[in-house]
Symmetry: C2
Subunit: 281 residues, 2 copies
């Protein structure tokens, strides 16, 4: 099929001006700033421009299968300018939610060793299966767990039917492994437990209000001065559009022009990649 001219990529002046006025830029990572073979062309220049223009810069990922420390290492390796406070993961949103709601420090976490270490470093105590079944945790936290076992599923189910508060770090159904392969993520496990006991968690991370709240509190800015740049319609763009952030879709990752055309979500700016945004700032 011949590629049709994509009219959605013709931004109006007002949207361009809104983006140029943003005081914080929040970027998704995979598909937005890098692909499996390295940084997206022009991404480094874009990030440098954000910093040199004295705007706040944040990196936001829902992928909690690797710890904050490993994320920071990965971003350094890619050559991205990043300090600890600039990285936001869905575990940060869960941390904030749990502490704000006094669901702290004893939790039962469905998550791999990296994520457990992450929560322990935040002051949480992650109970073992035996501990969780004998001494009720304050919350069950469903995170991305590439070391999932039936024992963990059984324990989680037993706690859920007891009515323990139940939080999921993010709603993604699949997590990209490469740009053509995926693996089941937290959203798939939410479906398992919903079927088993009828409960759905309070979900944090993109695209929830909890994530928006987290970004606003961190940046001390109203949504109207925050731009969110991402490649996924139903996490990145949905959150930005629904919250009133400045929504920027890049076509360098998951979303194709055809997928965008068939979606009801209409981002304010659509660009081939973040490189196209450098001159606007």
């Amino acid at each position: 099929m011949a590629k049709k001219k994509d009219t959605t990529k013709q931004p109006n002046m007002e949207n361009l001006q809104r983006f140029a006025a943003a005081q914080a830029i929040v970027c998704d990572l995979d598909g937005t700033l890098y692909l499996e073979d390295g940084p997206i062309q022009g991404a480094l220049q874009f990030l440098d421009k954000v910093i040199s223009s004295h705007r706040q810069l944040y990196y936001f990922t829902n992928n909690t299968s690797i710890s904050r420390q490993r994320w920071l290492g990965k971003l350094h390796e890619l050559g991205f300018p990043v300090k600890n406070h600039q990285l936001i993961t869905s575990a940060d949103c869960a941390d904030a939610y749990l502490k704000r709601n006094d669901l702290y420090p004893r939790i039962y976490l469905v998550g791999n060793r990296d994520l457990q270490q992450d929560f322990e470093e935040r002051g949480f105590r992650c109970l073992t299966e035996d501990e969780a079944l004998s001494h009720d945790p304050y919350a069950v936290v469903l995170g991305f767990d590439t070391e999932l076992t039936y024992e963990k599923i059984y324990t989680c189910y037993q706690l859920l039917i007891k009515g323990i508060p139940y939080i999921a770090t993010h709603p993604d159904i699949l997590c990209p492994v490469t740009h053509t392969t995926f693996k089941p993520d937290v959203g798939s496990f939410i479906a398992l437990f919903e079927t088993a006991c009828g409960r759905r968690p309070i979900v944090v991370g993109k695209p929830t209000r909890e994530a928006v709240r987290f970004i606003c509190e961190k940046s001390h800015l109203p949504v109207s001065l925050i731009a969110f740049i991402g490649d996924r319609l139903y996490t990145d763009i949905q959150m930005a559009v629904e919250s009133g952030m400045i929504s920027v879709l890049v076509l360098s990752g998951e979303t194709t022009s055809a997928l965008l055309a068939s979606s009801s979500l209409k981002p304010e700016l659509v660009v081939d990649s973040v490189a196209d945004l450098t001159t606007i700032l």
Copy 2:
């Protein structure tokens, strides 16, 4: 709430006669013939009566977390008269379906060691995760797996998106551990994969047509001469009612009179336990 007189337990003569005319009696196990503290009172006498009346006797379970050999051992321990051919598990239905549809012998089985051994004894070759990902199996079989890992889930997902035929041994969402506690069963995992990739399996075992077909072929009888006795409305009784078998609900297990009253499923006979059936045969 005062217990209302349960009018559903007043059988009409026609249903009693239909049951008395049954040439095969198929019994569910847990909740129907035994509870955690042993055989249900009168169950042994009932089974002896079935045998002495020269009717065919079968035991049917969807629980494939233990092998046929262990099931036989357990039934012997309980004192039940049982020969190998009298035990039907949902793995038998899967076996028959797979062989009838030329999905044999290379399968990827999501199941614990007991179930793997069971399928190996039937002549199947259960591929490892690495083998299954590099050499397509003829089918993915989702069974009850109390040794489930994320690696198995990942492998199953990768095969499902390839379009490999997909069979589940049974649809139960929960499996009883005791009579007040349960654990997530195959039906819960079906929901996980349906969310991850939109596929639902061909389900065998109770209450499916495959199970009915299996019982009819094994007994060489039409459904009208087969009585199915069970304690679960949405597996045992649903199958019997929908297929035209003689449906007998026992109130010794999961189903209470209140639950029965609120259900649209109306078994032909409702009794407190199998003991009440001895005199009818």
